[in-house]
Amino acid sequence: MMTLLPKTHIDFVKKRFIFFTISGLVTLTGIISLSTKGLDLGLDFTGGTLVQVKFEKPVEISVLRKALEAAGIEAGIQTFTGGNSFALKVKGALQSVNETADKMDAALKAIPGNSFAEEKRDYVGPVVGRDLSKKAIFAILLSMFGIIVYVAFRFSNPVWGTAGVIGLLHDVFVAITAMSLTGREVDLVVVAAFLTIAGYSINDTIVIFDRMRENMRNFPKMHMGQLINMSINECLSRTIITTLTVFVTVLVLFLFGGTGINNFAFAMLIGTITGVYSTIFICSPIVFQWEHRPK
């Protein structure tokens, strides 16, 4: 039998304040980053125009910027490695469908000695963006509520469900923080990643809670701290293996999946790690802390 880990006896509960502190610091970083740098919201939410072009010959970004500025367009320019492709973005435009894009085309055509093909053209009207943001928040709130209700029902204890949701919020917040710190763009697909992280995080937590539930039945007199430690240790090799399989898959997507899915994969990478972390170091200790609160 091949094993990653020998039988472990790590006292996770005892060290909980270290991890509470770490999570507190990360959360603080997130709050600071979000309030100073903010989030780079994609066209999906802000509305605007994106044109992706591929030039025949290499072209300097400064040349592009100059050409666009000459036409009075202030666009964000993104390059892709291994090609002469550029994504030009103007956010929050209120113009009609093709106005901005056509202007960009004209400006780029003025660049001498090079020609380009339009690979992609997006226009999102301002109403659409607002509608999507509303729906995103709505979906997140509803799913969290659904999860708390389900977990409370299955574990006959609302504290466990709440601990699970705190872990889930923690993980999504860490992922959002990572997006903010790296300046990556948050579009609809990344929101899908956030929701997946939420689902994955709760999935992981439930597995440990399930073991705790079982051990409580088998050892009703056991001290809560000991019981939580035992449960986490028993599940540890499963936790690591599962995380590893997901992590590897997402890592491959991140490295080789192409630009369309890169931000999604990045958010998922962060989410996979923090998902396991929160299960072991946050959710279970919260249950312990609650049961040992000063009465």
């Binding site: 039998m1 009609s96 469908v97 093909a117 339009e118 690979e119 992609k120 053209r121 997006d122 226009y123 009207g125 109403v127 999507l132 729906k135 709505f138 979906a139 997140i140 509803l142 799913s143 659904g146 999860i147 389900y150 977990v151 299955r154 699970g164 609809l188 697909v189 899908a192 990643a193 929701l195 997946t196 939420a198 689902g199 994955y200 709760i202 439930i206 809670f209 399930d210 539930r213 079982e214 028993e234 599940c235 090799s237 499963r238 293996i241 599962t242 590893l244 399989t245 590897v248 898959t249 997402v250 491959v252 997507l253 490295l255 080789f256 999946g257 192409g258 369309g260 899915i261 999604f264």
Partner: protein, 477 residues
């Protein structure tokens, strides 16, 4: 036959069903592009196949908003939306592109997915034109002439950007008339205006057909139209009562021509002349035939993906997914040996079942959809890891193989059920987004989780039970 035979039968039956459901999709996508285009043109496209999203095949996605304020007060919103969708579908069908999903989104939005259209401007005109055809009398009174000469003398057009008439012009207009712009003539020409009666005796709603006609002398294209019986009668009476007056033909608020009525026009047909190109005339005829939209629509979202970019992302996305899949499969086999192999078989079945289910529902596979699939598969693997770890624990207690297996399943079940259910709850709410990319993700995740629970628990257990009949002494996990 015992219980086990039934179980094996169920799995094999489902496998055969899946292959049967998958066959049309496989056949469709192994055809050459030309063959596919031909079949689509003949409307022989198989119904129950897996569709590729625009991000994978290239094309144009548009979101249209119906201008509800301009809707006829008597018309209910739901009826108007249904009618608008029908008319847009009609226009696209006549234009002749492949499978085009058109659906209502929210209150007053319509989503149109045009695959592989390169000339999006043409498509925009085709879909976005209201195509309201009206016949109105030209007002030639002295007051009207005065208004026109005043407008001619102005340096600015009489309408502002929002289309509101300048108040000094509005004051001068004779009672019961309106001012209309004429269709643009040759370049450099001044924009001309007409003063028309506000009452509309005949509209395009009475049209039976419309077609492109070319002038025999000059070869310039025009659009010939025929009224239905009722419209023909109305038109005949109207022209009969207004001989020697000018009749303006107004399309979407623009006067295309205003010929003089020489005599009563019977037979219920006529011609719209103007400076059309052949393409324009062809598209106009299409939208006139398909009918007018109940109110104007505006494009509030448009996404064009070039076919090259689609191919590129499908190659990269699929390649990476495949690599991840292979890595996981290999890891399971190395780490859990025989048990890992069985989990891999289940994973493969999961994949086949998932694709078959998606083909049956004619679901659309998008890039985020592939991501959702990967997640569902990862969760299925997790279920097997849970079971295998439990089995290992039981083996440490030196239990016989025949006991290890059922206990492993029993103990892992509650964790598998609860973890899958919670993720499932989250994925169900993703449907709330309604919009293309996220919906694609939610579809594969939701179906994938359900199938994953079946394959990773039921199917693997059937395999173990079948294996147990040989009375093995050792379990390879």
């Amino acid at each position: 036959m015992n219980k086990l035979h039934w179980k094996i039968g169920t799995v094999l039956g489902l496998l055969i069903l899946s292959f049967w459901l998958l066959y049309p999709s496989v056949e469709w996508y192994t055809k050459t592009n030309d063959d596919r285009a031909k079949t689509e043109a003949m409307r022989m496209r198989p119904k129950r196949i897996l569709n590729l999203g625009l991000d994978l095949r290239g094309g144009t996605h548009m979101l249209l908003e119906l201008d509800v304020e301009k809707l006829d007060k008597k018309e209910k919103l739901n009826d108007a939306m249904t009618r608008a969708i029908e008319i847009i579908r009609n226009r696209i069908d006549q234009y002749g592109v492949g499978e085009t999903p058109i659906s209502r989104q929210g209150e007053r939005w319509i989503s149109v997915d045009l695959p592989g259209i390169s000339n999006t401007e043409e498509a925009e005109n085709l879909i976005g034109k209201t195509a309201l055809l009206e016949f109105r009398l030209v007002n030639t009174s002295n007051e009207a002439q005065a208004v026109l000469s005043k407008v001619d003398g102005m340096s600015e057009p009489p309408f502002d950007k929002a289309g509101v008439l300048a108040p000094e012009i509005a004051k001068m207009l004779p009672k019961g008339t309106m001012i209309y712009k004429a269709a643009a003539g040759a370049e450099g020409d001044r924009v001309r205006y007409y003063i028309l009666d506000a009452t509309v005796p005949v509209t395009g709603a009475y049209l039976e057909s419309a077609r492109v006609e070319t002038d025999r002398q000059f070869g310039t294209p025009s659009i010939g139209f025929t009224f239905n019986k009722e419209g023909g009668k109305l038109f005949e009476n109207f022209t009969g009562a207004n001989v020697n007056k000018y009749l303006a033909i107004v399309l979407d608020g623009v006067v295309h021509s205003a010929p003089v009525i020489k005599s009563r026009i019977g037979g219920g047909s006529g011609v719209i002349e103007g400076s059309f190109t052949l393409e324009e005339a062809r598209n106009l005829a299409i939208i006139l035939r398909a009918g007018a939209l109940p109110a104007p629509v505006s494009i509030i979202e448009k996404r064009v993906v070039g076919p090259g970019l689609g191919e590129d992302s499908i190659k990269k996305g699929l390649g990476a997914s495949l690599a991840g899949f292979v890595l996981v499969v290999l890891f399971m086999m190395i780490y859990y040996k025989g048990g890992g192999f069985i989990a891999d078989v289940a994973l493969l079945l999961n994949f086949v079942f998932l694709l078959a289910a998606m083909s049956y529902f004619s679901a659309t596979l998008t890039l985020p959809g592939i991501a959702g699939m990967i997640l569902a598969l990862a969760m299925a693997i997790d279920a097997n890891v849970l079971i295998l770890e439990r089995m290992r624990e039981e083996m440490h207690l030196s239990k016989p193989v025949a006991m290890v297996i059922p206990t492993g399943y029993d103990k892992a079940w509650s964790a598998i059920l609860d973890s899958n259910m919670t993720t499932w709850i989250a994925s169900i709410f993703l449907f709330q987004f309604g919009s293309g990319p996220v919906k694609g993700f939610a579809v594969t995740l939701t179906i994938g989780l359900l199938i994953g629970m079946f394959t990773s628990v039921f199917v693997t257990r059937v395999i173990y039970e079948f294996w147990l009949t040989s009375n093995p002494k050792e379990l390879s996990i």
